[in-house]
């Protein structure tokens, strides 16, 4: 997925010289996950450069640049480190168009690696998507595979609204279904690892059905898509797995159509439970599909604790936990 992201940046920088890329260690070195490798060499120091360690500064200068007319696509080294830039995101990026009645806009993208599964402990594992989804004016995207990552990132850069682009870091080098004790499959051995050359987009706001099923709907995104698929396969439950891809604006039509068909719904995410994005999904689904629901909607998520180091696999919502939830919902 790293290559797909790099490719998306490359394509975007080639097509539009207003696209600039910067962040901590993204210039000469190409980013700690190497997503920007080679871009400085190819496009020069003015288009791709290192910044001081100030997430506030990174987002803040991006706002000024976007107001000027550039399209900054910045990197926050880990989503866990976005908080110093959160004021600029919430108070500025999200509201600039609204408060200036469209006179100034902030068509920028903030990329950040998100999620756990790499023994990163509490400060390299967080999934803060709920903190963006609650903020009017932002769009929030979470790709689950290289094809989508490239197409969604290009779409995000071309979008005239600000986009928070969360990259599940556990998927950078291959799909991950939560079976941490099994060998890692590289993307090259996976269908969605095939990424076309050149320009294409995956539209924001559209979910994808990853596995059709009739018994229960699983709403997931990022790494959890693979976990959900594994859980379905392992339990033998005929689950329909929906990869939301864009968390806001969300694809309510696809969600409602599925739940109306299955009558059951399990929501899966890595972020902490309380006030997580799953709460919004549950609230929406019960509102829209109340009369179709045959069981309470279940959420399988990270626990309401900081993300621990040693207890990674006790914390991570893996296929066993998701499988149990599927069974429970089927039996309810």
């Amino acid at each position: 997925m790293v290559e797909a992201i790099r490719d998306a940046l490359d394509v975007s920088m080639q097509r539009d010289e207003n696209v600039v890329v910067f962040g901590e260690d993204v210039g000469y070195f190409g980013g700690v996950f190497r997503c920007t490798q080679g871009l400085q060499q190819k496009f020069g120091m003015s288009r791709c450069f290192d910044t001081p360690i100030s997430e506030l500064g990174i987002v803040g200068v991006a706002v000024g640049m976007a107001a000027y007319g550039l399209r900054p696509c910045v990197e926050i080294q880990f989503a866990d480190y976005m908080y110093p830039g959160y004021d600029q995101i919430v108070s500025e990026v999200a509201r600039l168009r609204y408060r200036s009645n469209g006179e100034f806009t902030a068509p920028l993208v903030v990329r950040m690696p998100t999620g756990g599964g790499i023994f990163g402990g509490q400060t390299h594992s967080q999934s803060p998507e709920a903190l963006f989804v609650h903020v009017a004016g932002l769009k929030t995207v979470v790709p689950s595979n290289p094809y989508d990552a490239k197409g969604l990132l290009i779409a995000a850069i071309e979008d005239n609204d600000p986009v928070i682009f969360l990259e599940p870091k556990r998927l950078y080098n291959g799909p991950f279904d939560g079976h941490h004790d099994r060998p890692v499959t590289p993307w090259s051995k996976h269908a969605q690892g095939e990424v076309p050359d050149g320009h294409y987009t995956v539209p924001l706001g559209k979910a994808a059905i990853r596995r059709a099923g009739a018994a229960v709907t699983v709403l997931a995104y990022g790494t959890m898509v693979f976990v959900a698929e594994a859980a379905a396969a392992e339990t033998g439950i005929d689950a329909e797995v929906i990869d939301l891809r864009t968390l806001l604006p969300y694809d309510l039509e696809t969600i409602v159509a599925s739940v109306e068909k299955t009558g059951r719904c399990v929501i899966v995410h890595e972020a902490t439970l309380t006030g997580g994005y799953g709460a919004e999904l549950a609230a929406l689904v019960q509102e829209r599909c109340f009369y179709s629901l045959e069981a309470p909607i279940a959420r399988v998520t990270g626990w309401d604790t900081p993300y621990p180091h040693a207890q990674e696999w006790d914390y991570f919502p893996g296929p066993a936990r998701v499988g149990r939830a599927l069974k429970a919902v089927m039996e309810a």
Binding site: S46, S54, G60, V61, A62, L70, Q88, R99, N101, D161
Partner: protein, 410 residues
């Protein structure tokens, strides 16, 4: 080490509080004309002293003296006087309108008119200000229609911001005035970003950031200085030190540092301190810094020493925290009176003409106000719609917001 004893906690406090006699004797004011005017390509380390001094042009007699004088024609100065007088009249009317319940909130500029009015005249078309809440002079001196300002304040049907923003939170791309944020400080680093963009695009435009003395404590101030100094951004970074941040005197934000300008020294940035009540000094220093930026010599930090004569906003009463007459003892005087005196001394102005101008300006402000009010005030007359409230959150309204608008029945 001998027993050092117990620690004690230090909280800075102003010399005088309500009931006391105003005393600015500790405010060191260099005589006008004393501070040198270096070349714009001077090395920052060669002018560190300028961060601790104060550049002044107009002396007590109303003469323009020293190396920073003689930058503006009498016509330009007359125009400047008119801008400041207009801003003052505008303030007076809007304050009154707020008291009359025609809007929810207002913030005036009394005493600080020179800073934004004179600065604006040092910019070129296409340059961009990133203002905070007390720089309406940038708009007035930049020719922005007052009708729009009033309509914004009234949130009426002509409000360019459709009622979405608090009064005085203007925005005008055309007039080089970035949308004001209610969150202090955020604009300072955005100004740096805008300037970086101009440099990236090999453009010729520059940016100006604005911040208050109190707000220099915010994180954005630091980020702005870090990024500006690293990328040598073509930006002028302006600190308006009006001595107060709501009820908090400048010593709380300034702490142990001698001046706010000194904050630039740690970044190797030219840092100048200037008499903010001296139209000529403000303009001369602004021009110097703008030229530096334009010539790609990098950022400049400027502290304008001035005084907030009025209340912080219509929501507070300063007599609760400072002596009532403190502003009368402010040693740098009143910017309007000082420029007026200078122009009279130059023979380009007179008491009578001043009075007449005052009356004319007031009449014209009142006329505009009437026009604005015909288009509505906050609680009466035509106004932006609930539909407007749902627009502009995104470029195109996403489905969830469309549903909400329908639910709202608008």
């Amino acid at each position: 080490m001998s027993d050092p004893g117990r620690l004690s906690f230090h909280v800075p406090a102003p010399a005088v509080r309500p009931g006391g006699t105003p005393d600015f004797s500790e405010v060191k004011i260099a005589p006008a004309g004393e501070v040198r005017r270096p070349d714009v390509d001077v090395a920052a380390e060669d002018i560190r002293d300028l961060a601790y001094s104060i550049i002044r042009v107009l002396n007590r007699e109303g003469e323009a003296v020293g190396p920073w004088a003689n930058q503006l024609s009498a016509e330009a100065l007359l125009e400047g006087l008119r801008h400041m007088m207009t801003l003052r009249a505008f303030d007076a009317r809007m304050l009154m309108a707020q008291r009359q319940g025609k809007t929810s909130f207002y913030m005036q500029h009394m005493g600080e008119e020179a800073v934004s009015c004179a600065f604006q005249r040092a910019l070129s078309p296409g340059d961009m200000n990133f203002p905070t809440h007390r720089q309406a002079g940038l708009l007035i001196a930049g020719g922005y229609p007052m009708l729009k300002m009033m309509s914004q304040i009234y949130s009426n049907e002509l409000d360019p911001l459709k009622g979405r923003q608090l009064p005085i939170m203007y925005s005008s791309r055309e007039h080089g005035f970035f949308s004001i944020s209610g969150n202090l400080g955020t604009q300072f680093v955005q100004a740096v970003g805008w300037a970086m963009a101009s440099a990236i695009k090999r453009d010729t435009k520059i940016a100006a950031g604005w911040i208050g003395d109190g707000s220099t404590a915010e994180s954005d101030f630091h980020a702005a200085l870090v990024f500006a100094s690293t990328y040598k951004a073509p930006v002028v970074l302006n600190i308006v030190n009006n001595q107060w941040a709501i009820s908090t005197f400048q010593g709380i934000a300034r702490g142990g540092s001698g001046t706010f300008a000194a904050r630039g020294l740690g970044f190797g940035m030219p840092a100048l301190r200037v008499d903010g009540n001296d139209y000529l000094a403000v303009h001369a220093v602004a021009k110097w810094a703008v030229e530096r930026a334009r010539r790609n010599l990098g950022p400049t930090l400027i502290e304008y020493v001035t005084y907030r004569v009025g209340a912080h906003s219509t929501s507070d009463d300063p007599t609760a925290y400072r002596p009532k007459m403190e502003s009368d003892s402010w040693p740098l005087g009143d910017p309007v009176l000082r420029l007026k005196q200078h122009l009279i001394r130059l023979g380009a102005w007179s008491e009578e003409r001043h009075k007449q101008a005052e009356a004319e300006i007031l009449a014209s402000v009142i006329e505009t106000q009437k026009e604005a009010e015909a288009h509505g005030t906050l609680h009466s007359g035509p106004h932006p719609s609930a539909r407007d409230m749902f627009e502009g959150v995104y470029e195109a309204m996403p489905p969830h917001l469309r549903r909400q608008r329908q639910q709202a029945g608008v």
